[in-house]
């Protein structure tokens, strides 16, 4: 298979990118079965210049198994867009780089992509990783959407070229706290937090909300990503005598370890937290009472309740996700929560509206997107606020409802 891409704008080219990308595709160590069709190359009939998007995604490293499949939403979007003729006639092509989910690797990767003439980037995943990445994309004036919830990344003044197409930690903190305090009437709240930018900002938001309600967290335990087990952290929380626990956990192994620890200490508090808790493996790992009262933040559009259910568009999306991701590692919710689907569709809309691929023009247009009905929620941007989603579009959903057939892999029942 030859690759006849030419970098746009006639910039100096490395040459080695093409070969490398090809080799990487060929040598990919199956973390999820991606077909070669997902490269999104146009059919042979269309000889138009492809529109290159940087794709920063971890395929190796400690967090690869938690993050690598979170780009499926983006792949679906690319397929849809290219099938409809691409953006202004140009098919989207991905230039993928492995960042190993390490903040340390981000600057070099951005420089490399810059060198290939890329002006738009999807990824990385993770707030710490994204903060490291925007440090280089911002001066480089590269338009970027990351899968990161840290509220700082929605600051349009600090990071004018970054668009956060997910809900942010401020909103998550608010919802998670209010459910425990107002809905469940609990007073002694504790927090288990991963030692990352996401964890920090989520805890900060939780504290702020608790303060508004006249409370303080009884105990906050921060664990490093390299912790071999979470027994002592969970033990410390348990001994503090909590009524309710908030878990800001974003990696699969840590979620498993936390619940294991709670199980061996026979402690089953009510829990709210991040969508990293929607781990289907928990059903095998711990008894049902452990997850009976566990809720994670999610989009309303992907939830059902006694009175509502997800729309047809979302159901079609669920079927497509299953097509891309049949083994169903059981993390359907984080996969569906991916920002790239909506980002790419918004990008197409904006570029075709401006009739230009130039980043400054695109940025201006993005900053005035109002009321766009995305798959996950309504998207609004202003020059100052780059967090797309409003708090009214998210809520808590129950983890245990993952067993329900209505879940279709990615939906969950709204918390009562």
């Amino acid at each position: 298979m030859t690759n006849s891409r030419k970098p746009p704008f006639g910039l100096q080219r490395d040459g080695s990118i093409d070969r490398r990308d090809f080799l990487r595709t060929a040598g990919r160590l199956g973390v999820g079965a991606f077909g070669l069709s997902s490269l999104g190359l146009a059919s042979a009939a269309n000889a138009a210049d492809p529109f290159n998007i940087g794709w920063i995604r971890p395929t190796t490293g400690r967090l690869a198994s938690s993050f690598s499949y979170l780009y499926i939403g983006g792949l679906i979007a690319i397929e849809e867009i290219n099938a409809a003729g691409g953006i202004m006639g140009r098919p989207i092509a991905r230039i993928e780089e492995d960042d190993e989910a390490s903040p340390a690797k981000e600057p070099a990767i951005v420089k490399k992509l810059q060198g290939s003439g890329v002006n738009f980037i999807a990824g990385p995943t993770g707030s710490s990783q994204s903060l490291s990445s925007v440090a280089t994309t911002t001066p480089g004036k590269i338009i970027q959407a990351t899968y990161a919830n840290g509220a700082e990344l929605g600051d349009g003044v600090k990071y004018p070229y970054h668009y956060q197409c997910t809900f942010n930690t401020n909103q998550q903190g608010e919802i998670a706290v209010r459910y425990l305090v107002e809905n469940q009437k609990l007073k002694k709240i504790g927090i288990l937090q991963e030692n990352t930018a996401f964890g920090e900002q989520a805890t900060a938001a939780s504290r702020a909300t608790l303060k508004k309600l006249g409370l303080e967290p009884v105990k906050v335990e921060v664990y490093p990503l390299t912790a071999p087990d979470l027994n002592s952290y969970v033990g410390n929380l348990r001994k503090a005598g909590l009524d309710g626990l908030i878990c800001w956990i974003a990696s699969v192994p840590a979620a498993a370890m936390a619940f294991n620890a709670m199980n061996s200490q026979k402690w089953y508090p009510p829990i709210t937290g991040h969508n990293g808790l929607f781990l289907d493996a928990l059903f095998e790992l711990v008894p049902p009472e452990a997850i009976a009262h566990v809720y994670g933040t999610m989009y309303r559009s992907l939830m059902w309740s006694d009175t509502t259910s997800p729309g047809e568009r979302q159901k079609a999306f669920a079927k497509k996700v299953e097509g891309f991701y049949p083994e169903g590692k059981g993390s359907g919710v984080p996969v569906a929560n991916s920002p790239y689907y909506d980002f790419l569709h918004v990008l197409k809309m904006v570029i075709e509206g401006e009739k230009s691929f130039e980043p400054e023009k695109v940025k201006k247009a993005l900053d005035s997107v109002k009321g766009y009905k995305g798959l996950l929620g309504t998207i609004n941007f202003t020059p100052e606020n780059h967090t797309a989603i409003g708090i009214e579009d998210i809520a808590l959903a129950s983890v245990s409802s993952g067993k329900d057939p209505r879940a279709m892999g990615i939906f969950r029942e709204m918390a009562k």
């Binding site: 040598g27 395929t59 190796t60 070099a108 420089k111 440090a135």
Partner: protein, 596 residues
């Protein structure tokens, strides 16, 4: 190739490197090149410590981390300018490096390697734990570029800065290694006892090597921080430290250009093998194993060997350095010999009594022999006089001052020189360099002046070289000056060792069985040599079995048997003493039967 040609080639290389970006530079390539230069800095420092000094440190990554974080926190959180921040980085890293070095003085090499590894892990953990200071896992973001005279450095400027630092580091390192410090460090690695006997304080030299390598790591960290603009704990895993060791070993430990070659190969290979990204660490591990087993001198070592073979194949003559000529035939200055007084010295090893109350007196400027059957405690006595073994009881006075409890290198600096039963040479260095090691205590230049090749250092080095050449001549080894000491036959190694001891201008010279294994011809020469040394005024104490030699050159003799003095006096008196004849020479009559 002559040194002129070499210098010209190096200058040409430097020019090419400075100008290269105009031809093939892209942002990304500059980024990688600058990062590689930062690695070279650390590797050069680590090569000093590990390649030349033999200390395995697996913690240098942590020192780079400290430098990088120092600059990042100082410039981002406290708005310092880069230049004082870089200085802070070097100081902080040196301080931590010094602390990390402390266990090395009491514990053996591999303990030390593990402790440095532990250090690296602890630092990594603390970087994440001390979130208020270090910004935790997300790290410090947005490190500003340095500003020089109002002009903010671009990536190209940064590359040039890194390149300049590299060149300065290599130059300074070459100077340091060629000085007495370099020799002392090799002594620490290859033969600590020889170094100690030449007055080298092992602790001080190790500490010097540590602090220098730590400072370079800190400086590298400063460069790292401004180049990446983001400093996170993930940059500095334990693997990071191991990378540096790999670079040093890959390039060639103990070779000046090793770190450069190692860093270049280390960086180029992943770029070429990008497809094997996930196998990278596995490849490095295998490469490291392979190298240590089959090419312990790394790529530079292999290239050297290959070059030698090529020269032979091409029929080129072997390179001969200029012959060493003693600068003048002037006589060597006389020495004020020290007197030795040993009183009631005792030594026990577990249940065995090696010395049971030995006393002897040696007048200044005389030549005294200690003889006795094997196991009578002769070498033990010498070891105690020179401080290598502690005393259980008794006193030892050199020049009227007690040396009991002093460290051996201190005693060496008091003017006590010695040789050993088995010659202790530094096999990798040339004969001349080995002898120059003996000049260590006499030279006064500081490490800084040696590194910068200040005039005072150069003068001192020239004087020592003249001295060494003279003694080389004195012992008759002038024609073998540039051969590796390990290649010398046994007898000549002994002579070289004596020359080494002489360069230090000892006032009391202890010779441990210098005649063992010598041919008759060499024996004669040795006798003349010792007599000449005695004529200079040096007090000589010689442990020997060759009684004829002893009778010819010594004015007094002590006979030891089973740790006690059997007889003492002039050779004639002692050798006709009936007990001595019976106990020592047994039924074999006559003097001159060797029993080595």
């Amino acid at each position: 190739m002559s040194s002129r040609t070499r210098s010209a080639l190096l200058v040409a290389l430097a020019v090419v490197l400075y100008l290269a970006p105009f031809a093939v530079g892209t942002e990304y390539r500059l980024f990688i090149a600058t990062q590689m230069a930062a690695y070279v800095l650390v590797a050069v420092g680590l090569n000093l410590l590990n390649g030349y000094g033999g200390q395995v440190s697996l913690g240098h990554g942590a020192l780079v981390a400290i430098g990088a974080y120092a600059v990042a926190i100082a410039t981002v959180d406290h708005h310092w300018s880069f230049w004082p921040a870089a200085l802070l980085a070097m100081l902080a890293a040196s301080a931590v490096g010094a602390v990390m070095a402390l266990p090395a003085f009491r514990l053996s090499t591999w303990y030390f390697a593990l402790i440095t590894l532990g250090f690296a892990e602890v630092v990594g953990g603390l970087l994440t734990e001390w979130r208020e200071l270090t910004h935790g896992f997300a790290g410090v973001v947005g490190v500003p570029k340095p500003v020089l005279f109002g002009h903010e450095l671009s990536s190209l400027d940064l590359y040039w800065l890194a390149l300049t630092l590299n060149i300065a580091a290599l130059w300074g390192m070459a100077n340091l290694l060629a000085s007495r410090f370099g020799r002392a460090l090799v002594g620490v690695r290859d033969n600590p006892v020889a170094a100690t006997a030449s007055g080298v304080s092992l602790v001080r030299i190790k500490m010097l090597a540590f602090v220098v390598s730590a400072a370079m790591a800190g400086l590298s960290g400063a460069l790292y921080a401004v180049q990446k603009t983001v400093v996170t704990p993930d940059d500095f895993t334990a693997d990071f430290s191991i990378f540096f060791l790999l670079v040093v070993v890959l390039g060639g430990a103990g070779r000046l250009w090793g770190p450069v070659v190692g860093a270049v190969v280390f960086f180029l290979v992943p770029e070429l093998l990008a497809a094997l990204q996930s196998w990278r660490m596995l490849i490095y591990g295998t490469a490291l194993l392979f190298l240590m087993l089959y090419a312990p001198h790394g790529l530079v070592g292999a290239m050297d060997v290959g070059w030698q073979h090529l020269r032979k194949w091409l029929g080129l003559p072997a390179v001969t350095p200029p012959p060493v000529v003693a600068t003048s035939r002037q006589t060597v200055e006389p020495v004020a010999g020290e007197a030795l007084s040993v009183q009631g010295v005792e030594k026990r090893f577990g249940g065995v009594t090696a010395l049971a109350g030995v006393s002897l007196e040696v007048a200044a400027g005389t030549t005294h022999a200690i003889v006795g059957p094997n196991g009578s405690g002769k070498t033990t006595l010498l070891n105690m006089i020179s401080g290598f073994y502690p005393i259980d009881a008794g006193s030892i006075l050199v020049d009227g001052r007690s040396v009991v409890g002093l460290a051996p290198h201190r005693i060496a600096r008091r003017g006590v020189g010695r040789t050993f039963q088995t010659p202790r040479m530094l096999p990798a260095l040339s004969v001349l360099d080995n002898i120059l090691l003996g000049a260590y205590p006499a030279e006064r230049q500081s490490a800084l002046s040696a590194t910068l090749r200040l005039p005072v250092a150069r003068r001192e080095q020239a004087a020592s070289l003249a001295d060494a050449s003279r003694y080389l001549d004195f012992v008759g080894l002038a024609d073998r000056a540039h051969e590796a000491a390990g290649e010398l036959p046994h007898g000549q190694q002994r002579l070289a060792e004596i020359a080494r001891a002489l360069v230090g201008r000892p006032r009391l010279l202890l010779l441990d069985e210098p005649a063992a294994g010598l041919s008759l011809d060499e024996l004669d020469r040795l006798g003349e040599l010792i007599a000449a040394i005695g004529r200079l005024g040096t007090t000589v104490v010689i442990v020997e079995h060759h009684l004829e030699l002893v009778a010819n050159i010594c004015s007094s003799v002590t006979v030891l048997e089973r740790g006690a003095v059997l007889a003492s006096g002039t050779p004639a008196e002692v050798f006709s003493h009936p007990q001595v004849v019976a106990a020592y020479m047994g039924t074999q009559a006559g003097v001159g039967q060797a029993a080595s």
